[in-house]
């Protein structure tokens, strides 16, 4: 490949993006987007509707032109060498891009041959991919009769024909039932286990929690937080102790007792009859809270100790997006 620039001594990151900008008319879809993904990892890109996830993926996959910023895949510049980048990426877009009227095998054969494989190689590659994604039994059926999960798996298979260095998956499980999601997750794990770097966008936190080594949370065109799922949860402070009171009338009183025992502010949720307190070390805070409640004869139906969920992180970072100061505080944490 003549247009490939000479590779630097250290292997470059699988994906490296700095200061990406993209406007659609008055909308700033990407507004200083930075992302770096080491080889062989799965990176989750989380964000609410309209955050700019799809735009980021399309720009990185050379489908959409960037207004500004620089991005490279496997060390190859996306803006200067889009053709070389296309040799190294696979893209599963947000809309199913397999041909409904064709069978699973015909779809794979088409994309394999279009990717430059000879007919016998394309046949072998299609068979391999059908087997890998458990589609061999339905290979001869037209895609129009496929379930959502089967379609997505075929979509992923079709994008792996050339064994890409980086696979982009844009909301791969949106609209799937739990079974379909599980099969797609399994497929993504297989891809990652084979060493392909994966960038996965999603709105589901459990999905990122399940699949991603690292997660970036994006809002309004830029990354607002980044880390491993565990780090992001830690970012929200310590553990949570939640007590569900037997007597809803004594909620306020219980909140005071728990706050004093834990040495932290407690929040009350009348709907669930619960009092929640955030503590640094949950296991150590639990005993004083139990003793204090017992001393005041406050009966509890349920008492739990838990880490913050990614959902709480997510809502915290993007939900109160109107509160700019909070976002800034988060940015400084990075």
């Amino acid at each position: 490949m003549t247009q490939t620039p000479p590779s630097p001594p250290a292997p470059p990151a699988a994906l490296d993006a700095v200061g990406l900008r993209k406007r659609f008319g008055a909308t700033s879809a990407l507004d200083g987007f930075d992302l770096r993904i080491p080889r062989g990892t799965v990176h989750g890109l989380l964000g609410p509707n309209g955050a700019g996830k799809t735009t980021a993926v399309r720009c990185l996959a050379t489908l959409t032109e960037l207004d500004d910023g620089s991005a490279s895949i496997d060390g190859i510049d996306v803006r200067r060498h889009p053709a070389a980048v296309r040799e190294r990426i696979g893209l599963v877009g947000q809309t199913h891009a397999v041909d409904e009227a064709l069978t699973a095998r015909q779809n794979l054969m088409l994309f394999a041959r279009l990717s430059g494989l000879s007919k016998p190689r394309a046949v072998r590659r299609s068979d391999q991919l059908l087997a890998t994604f458990s589609l061999t039994d339905v290979a001869a059926r037209p895609v129009s009769g496929f379930s959502g999960g089967m379609r997505r798996r075929l979509d992923i298979a079709a994008s792996l024909v050339l064994r890409p260095a980086v696979l982009f998956l844009d909301e791969p499980t949106t609209g799937l039932d739990p079974r379909g999601r599980a099969t797609v997750w399994q497929a993504v794990r297989e891809v990652a286990a084979a060493g392909t770097t994966v960038l996965l966008t999603t709105q589901y936190l459990d999905e990122a929690d399940q699949l991603a080594d690292r997660v970036s949370v994006m809002n309004q065109g830029k990354i607002v937080a980044e880390g491993s799922p565990a780090e992001l949860k830690r970012r929200l402070g310590g553990d949570r102790v939640a007590a569900v009171l037997a007597d809803p009338d004594r909620l306020r009183e219980a909140a005071g007792v728990i706050a004093r025992a834990a040495g932290a502010e407690a929040s009350v949720d009348p709907d669930t009859r619960s009092v929640t307190v955030e503590v640094d070390d949950g296991s150590r805070a639990l005993a004083p809270i139990v003793r204090a409640l017992d001393a005041e004869h406050l009966a509890v139906d349920d008492l739990t100790l838990r880490r913050p969920t990614l959902d709480e992180v997510f809502l915290h970072l993007t939900g109160d997006a109107g509160d700019a100061s909070e976002l800034h505080a988060e940015l400084e944490v990075r």
Binding site: L91, D99, A101, L102, L117, A131, L160, L162, A187, V191
Partner: protein
């Protein structure tokens, strides 16, 4: 599941073939052939509709229509219908382009390491093949109801080539429209538009039977040029007793599609590039 099939290696070394727009266009066109085989009804209904038009005009109205310059109406009508079929082909180009763009298939093609001309070339090959098939069936049908080309093979072949030449030119218009007006009713707009264009021509009646101004419009219609040239080359009545088009039909049928191609091929290419914005 096995992991071995997915093992990453530099993909560039995997290709057996270099990028080649013709090969890729051929493969993309092959997809349409599979569509026709799986869902032949679109093709069949299109044909049935054209045959119905021939029967309706040929036998229902034909008796009342007199061809200036003499000759039978069926012999006059058939070459016109051939040209009209080329115009109707526009609709399938627009629909196919708009559907693929809307459903993300075009994006998948664009994310593959293809030559930039492959997608359009694929569309061109598939649509030309479809229209040629359509034309062949109409010609056979025409022979059944008494249409006869009376000239030599060279003229007949040239007539067929000029018909497909018009279809070729309309491809670029169709690709341009399909890419530019995705999902905004481009197909419906074209379905409606082909009718006045088709009727404001010499497909069904001679321009000489129309009021003067309407006749001029019909004479300058590219579809009329191809229809008149086909009539001439097949040795069928042209419906003209004189005038510029009568004397230069083959020239007009060669130049009009060239003009359309020169105008819309660059526009189609830029509409394709605009997908990146």
């Amino acid at each position: 599941m096995t992991t071995t099939t997915l093992t990453t290696m530099t993909s560039a070394g995997l290709r057996d073939r270099r990028r080649n727009a013709l090969r890729e266009g051929w493969l993309i066109a092959g997809r349409d052939v599979l569509h026709w085989i799986r869902e032949p009804w679109g093709l069949v209904f299109g044909l049935a509709f054209n045959i119905m038009l021939i029967l309706m005009f040929g036998f229902l109205f034909g008796g009342a229509i007199e061809v200036p310059g003499g000759g039978g109406y069926i012999a006059f009508l058939l070459p016109g219908m051939f040209a009209l079929t080329m115009l109707f082909g526009l609709e399938s180009t627009v629909t196919a382009m708009a559907d693929d763009a809307k459903r993300g298939v075009t994006d998948r093609f664009r994310s593959l390491p293809l030559s930039s001309a492959s997608v359009a070339l694929g569309r061109a090959i598939a649509d030309l093949a479809g229209s040629a098939l359509n034309l062949a069936v109409l010609m056979l049908g025409g022979l059944l109801i008494g249409w006869r080309p009376t000239t030599g093979p060279a003229e007949i072949v040239l007539g067929v080539v000029l018909l497909l030449w018009l279809r070729f030119a309309l491809l670029w218009l169709g690709i341009f429209l399909g890419l530019s007006f995705r999902g905004t009713g481009a197909t419906t707009a074209v379905q409606v538009l082909v009718w006045p264009i088709g009727f404001l021509s010499t497909v069904f009646v001679s321009a000489e039977t129309m009021p003067g101004w309407l006749g001029s419009i019909a004479q300058w219609n590219p579809v009329s040029a191809t229809a008149t040239a086909a009539r001439e080359l097949f040795g069928n009545p042209t419906g003209t007793t004189g005038g510029w088009l009568a004397d230069n039909a083959v020239l007009a049928a060669s130049v009009w599609p060239l003009v359309i191609t020169l105008a819309f091929l660059p526009l189609a290419a830029s509409a394709y590039r605009r997908l990146r914005r």
